[in-house]
Amino acid sequence: MAAASTYTEAELVQGLQARNEKIFSYLYDHYSPALYGVALKVIADETTAGDVLQEVFVKIWRSIDKYDATKGRLFTWMLNIARNTAIDSLRSKAYKLDQKITDVDNLALLNEPQLAVYLQVDHLGLSKAVERLQKEQRTIIDLAYYKGCTQEEISKALDIPLGTVKTRMRNAIMQLRGLLKQQL
């Protein structure tokens, strides 16, 4: 997606700061699927995820001056906004922890190839690679990254010791990293 850009990140940031609608529109077209995907993974409800996506882009538009290029790329920043907004929305809905677990289990279905109709073609290989992560490792990444659970919460929810959560988490991320590297 970003690879097909005709604007550099610096141009995008400048455009947003200059309140350029065209740049905003371009930004939306190129990044909204990834950010909407994050919101959907977190919330698993299309209406709420849509509201979150709208909020995320208004935040991007309103707080572009707070973006600090030394801390990471624009997409990284936007992704953080999307994840945090979605998790806040999830918390405000007072989802119970067991609901989060069910959501994660349901999300596993989305990884079935026949259901994953929306996957970007250039990422099909990659998602296959992610599927190779063991289910327990993927569950841990999903709970932590997409549900905003703390390590203590995961330990309680999955009934495993805190130390095991930490090592499993690290292994999961390391393994994911290895899989992603093979693909890229």
Partner: protein, 296 residues
């Protein structure tokens, strides 16, 4: 610091996946600035995480983009502010839900087309209205039937005129004085969209209260021009006691602009009433048009 040990501790992975508490986040960011090799690994991890996230990309429904473009186009107008979720408004906090706010959605080119269409509709309505008056004259004996039709047409025509006025008011509101524009974004001013009351069901005004200077403001969008011998009053109600907050200026030119009214120390409810000119606010004389609840 043994930087290799730090790198292999897993803290960078946890940082990139958002699992660290805030103080540790700041620490990682400080170290990344200091050690280029750490920064490089963090960027690498971020890039990989982004690729992972893109696996789950889904195209969002198209109406979200349309809504967003409308929001950013109107973000500095009061009506635009009201489209936004409460926590994103510049003059946070606003105590009333924006859900019931009627919003005229249009793009500049659509506006022109719409204006032309309105002209046709207005002309058509006037012709139909004139015919109806004539018919009404001929069939004066059939008053019941024709009276109802006549009233319906008056109402329809009024709606068209009102809508047209609202449209031009929104353009007018863009040309407010700089000082008034600042009030819209002033965090000390609470803006509330009033609701209609009884036989006047539509919200027609936005009311503001300055929590510091206690000034009361009102923006009229579509209150009808008061009939001869009557005028609109704004009254505040605090602890059940009503107080006069001043008389509203309702002319086509004043619509969409901020009117400054009498200050009030802690208004709870604000009511717009239509009363005979020179009224003392005695019960029975006032007809309530608009109500706004203020809960600072």
């Amino acid at each position: 610091m043994d930087i290799n040990h730090y790198i292999s501790s897993g803290v960078l992975e946890s940082y990139v996946y958002g699992l660290l508490p805030e103080d540790e986040v700041a620490e990682v960011e400080a170290i990344a600035l200091q050690y280029p090799e750490v920064k490089e690994i963090v960027e690498d991890l971020q890039f990989q995480k982004e690729e992972f996230v893109k696996c789950y990309a889904v195209t969002p429904p198209p109406e979200i983009k349309a809504r967003l473009m409308l929001i950013i186009r109107n973000e500095s107008t009061p009506e635009g502010e009201l489209i936004l979720p409460q926590e994103l408004r510049l003059n946070n906090p606003v105590p009333q839900s924006p859900a019931s706010t009627p919003v005229v959605k249009m793009t500049p080119t659509a506006a022109k087309k719409k204006e032309r269409r309105w002209k046709f509709i207005a002309a058509a309505a006037i012709i139909v209205f004139a015919i109806s008056v004539g018919v009404n004259f001929f069939f004066a004996t059939d008053t019941n039937d024709y009276k109802a039709r006549y009233e319906k047409l008056i109402a329809a025509q009024k709606q068209i005129t009102d809508d047209k006025e609202l449209e031009s008011n929104q353009t007018a509101s863009l040309q407010e004085s700089e000082e008034d524009k600042k009030l819209i974004k002033d965090p000390n001013v609470i803006w509330v969209k009033a609701s209609g009351y009884n036989t006047h069901p539509d919200g027609a005004v936005t009311i503001g209260w300055n929590t510091v200077s206690h000034e009361v403001y009102l923006i009229n969008w579509r209150l009808p021009i008061p009939p001869e011998g009557k005028q609109y009053h704004l009254r505040t109600i605090t602890g059940g006691k009503p107080a006069d907050a001043g008389i509203l200026t309702i002319t086509p030119a004043s619509n969409g602009k901020i009117q400054h009214l009498k200050p009030s120390t802690a208004p709870q409810t604000l009511v717009v009433t239509l009363e005979p000119t020179g009224s003392t606010g005695a019960p029975g004389q006032a007809e309530i048009y608009q109500v706004a609840e203020l809960n600072p």
